[in-house]
């Protein structure tokens, strides 16, 4: 009887410890991934009129497969938990929403339809699923990485499609996204997109979405390998030889 009670207590303690570990990991990954995303994808993720420009479906997935790959390297090789990609993308998504809600909307008064973040969660679940099904990080990189690039655009199209409805404004043809960015002033920095951007998704008459998705997936495969090894290296615990401990 006493042994049963002790075991129950141990289980409860173990769950509490699990929660502490998971919450700490979630917050740490959230911070790191969010900073990484702000520095690399940055404006590509902030504004509705940047979404669907030529580089968004290329830049965002390539920059965002990094942490999922690194987290999978740790959570799969050490814990055999197929949650690395979803766990990190959920952290990023949560951090992004806090940022967009409190800072962009609450503080700077941008409407949420101008600044909402893109979702990576469907691709993340698929990436985790492929890793578990194949149990092989090389195959996951090749198949999961390509799927990551391909799924990005359709995962977000349900949200961004309404912003591509045409509007006539002062005799000019604009999309709703164009009009939002024109009317809701960003003061200065993002204006350079209008200066440097020389093509949109449909610049070459037939459209470059498929090419962009394929290229994005191809680069995501490479990034997956690189960041898997980052994760593997930083998750390595054999830094000190036993004899020196």
């Amino acid at each position: 009887m006493q042994q049963v009670a002790a075991e129950a207590e141990a289980r409860a303690l173990e769950r509490k410890f699990d929660i502490v570990v998971l919450v700490s990991m979630f917050l740490a990954i959230l911070s790191g991934f969010h900073i990484h995303q702000m520095l690399t994808a940055g404006d590509w993720s902030f504004w509705i009129d940047w979404k669907d420009r030529m580089w968004w479906p290329v830049v965002a997935p390539i920059m965002d497969i990094t942490f999922p790959a690194a987290c999978q390297a740790i959570l799969w090789t050490k814990f055999k938990a197929p949650i690395g990609a979803t766990f990190s993308c959920a952290g990023l998504f949560f951090g992004q929403w806090m940022n967009r809600y409190w800072n962009f909307w609450g503080w700077a008064h941008y409407p949420l339809n101008f600044v909402f973040p893109e979702t990576l969660l469907p691709q993340a679940i698929v990436l985790d699923g492929v890793l578990m099904i194949t149990n092989n990080f090389v195959v996951t990189a090749l198949i999961g990485g390509e799927l990551w690039g391909w799924l990005f655009y359709p995962s977000n199209w349900p949200m961004i499609a309404p912003y591509h409805v045409p509007v006539e404004y002062y005799g000019q043809l604009m999309s709703v996204a164009d009009l939002i960015q024109y009317q809701y002033i960003r003061t200065s920095t993002p204006e350079y997109i209008r200066m440097v951007e020389t093509g949109t998704m449909r610049s070459f008459a037939g459209g470059v979405l498929g090419v962009s998705a394929f290229f994005s997936g191809f680069c995501s495969v490479i990034m997956y390998f690189i960041w898997w090894y980052f994760g593997y290296f930083f998750g390595w615990t054999k830094f000190i030889k036993h004899s020196k401990v």
């Binding site: 699990d18 339809n113 309404p162």
Partner: protein, 429 residues
């Protein structure tokens, strides 16, 4: 008798002190000491502000009260000159975007016209030496006090900031709408258009991810580390785990594909985001009244006085006077010209008087060398002294008028300035 415990006391002191320090740090940004004062034009180099883009004739329709209500429209009009001699240090592509500065969308930019042509949401290509007239129509959106003004952003060169005013927007932002009619015939409100759909899809995909995470995290987690290390990986997965994994993976792909196709059916007509660049011709040149050349310039550091010699030839048929010098949104007026007094409604900074010697008008056909001198604290306040900078040249616009009121704007764009470090007060040459 209570005995003071040194250790406990110190701990308490550290705790209270830390709490005060932390509170101070957290509250500091809210302090008026840190209040935003304008758009930071003064942080740009003097030569950049004086020799690249110069705004003039700027007027705001809300002056002199500087107050509007939420929903009110107001205009900002004026002209801008791209200085003919552009500094070598600053790249020039001419690819620019006319903008209205305000910290965020506190006002809506409803329309901008450049040389009476509607200015698109894309970039334009401008010419050196060209003068462009702009009209910006804006709508007040968020209550508060905001610095506002015209602005030109240029590729590689950065933002050039025009004169500013502080605008007070009164009323409540609640209930503000921004209706627009689309080419499909429906009227939408840009304030929240598409928001419900976006939130619904966000919640759906998030819910799937949360269920996936909860499924795996509901199992003992930390213990897995030990089991993997012990080589018992296979014990960690049940057949159900593999079925769940397969279901989520394939289900997510199917869901995304279905949602994209349904969306395509719901929005059969969509257009790509627009992109182009186009040219705007500058305004035709103003009537030529004078020919002029700056021969030398000095800046008296202790006296805070910029002085230069200007050789002027009147090529018109009426006497001409030098009325004003404008640089980096600071104006200096010649007090010897009748009626040339400062108007409080001007958004520029009042630099003070501009002394012109000799003060008599220049007659038709006559050539005179004018000595122009401006003593003002604004040289220092506006950080327009150049002796600290790597490029000690100045620029600006001189405004000449004849007796009929015809005006000629003359640009000084590349004049070297010799500082006088030891000169006494008084300026002059």
């Amino acid at each position: 008798m209570k005995i003071f415990n040194c250790e406990t006391g110190m701990k308490k002191l550290v705790r209270v002190g830390g709490a005060i320090l932390l509170s101070g740090l957290m509250l500091a940004p809210m302090s008026s000491l840190f209040a935003v004062q304008g758009m930071g034009a003064k942080s740009q180099e003097a030569f950049l502000r004086m020799r690249t883009v110069t705004f003039f004739d700027t007027r705001f329709s809300f002056t002199p009260s500087n107050r509007v209500k939420v929903g009110d429209e107001f205009t900002c009009t004026g002209k801008v000159m791209l200085m003919p001699t552009w500094p070598q240090e600053i790249p020039f592509s001419g690819i620019s975007f006319f903008n209205f500065f305000v910290p965020g969308p506190q006002v809506l930019r409803k329309a901008i016209f450049v040389n009476e042509k509607y200015f698109q949401f894309n970039s334009v290509v401008l010419e050196k030496g060209g003068v462009y007239e702009y009209k910006m129509i804006n709508q007040a959106r968020t209550p508060g006090i905001w610095p506002v003004g015209p602005m030109v952003s240029m590729e590689e060169a950065g933002p050039f900031i025009g004169p500013e005013e502080f605008l007070t927007i009164e009323g409540s932002g609640a209930g503000f709408t921004n209706p627009v009619k689309t080419l499909l015939g429906n009227t939408i409100d840009l304030e929240n258009y598409g928001e419900g759909r976006m939130i619904a899809w966000t919640l759906l995909t998030s819910a799937i991810a949360v269920v996936w995470l909860v499924y795996w995290c509901s199992k003992p987690f930390t213990r897995r580390l030990g089991l993997v290390a012990a080589g018992r990986k296979e014990d960690l997965f049940s057949p159900m785990d593999r079925q769940v994994c397969f279901l989520f993976t394939i289900g997510t792909i199917v869901l995304v594909a279905a949602a994209a196709m349904i969306t395509k059916a719901q929005y059969p007509i969509t257009i790509p985001i627009q992109e182009t660049k186009y040219y705007i011709k500058p305004l035709p040149p103003e009537p030529a009244l004078i020919q002029a050349e700056v021969t030398d310039a000095t800046y008296d550091v202790p006296g805070r006085t910029l002085s230069f010699h200007l050789q002027v030839k009147n090529i018109g048929d009426k006497p001409v006077v030098l009325k004003e010098f404008l640089t980096a949104n600071v104006r200096f007026l010649n007090p010897d010209v009748p009626g040339n007094t400062w108007n409080e409604n001007y958004p520029e900074v009042n630099g003070g008087p501009m002394r012109v010697t000799p003060s008599e008008p220049i007659n038709p056909g006559e050539t005179k060398t004018l000595e122009v001198s401006m003593q003002s604290a604004e040289w220092e306040n506006q950080r327009l002294t150049m002796y600290h900078e790597s490029t000690n040249r100045f620029g600006g616009l001189l405004f000449f008028t004849d007796t009929s009121g015809t005006r000629q704007v003359f640009a000084i764009a590349d004049q070297i300035v010799i500082p006088k470090f030891g000169a006494t007060m008084g300026g002059g040459m």
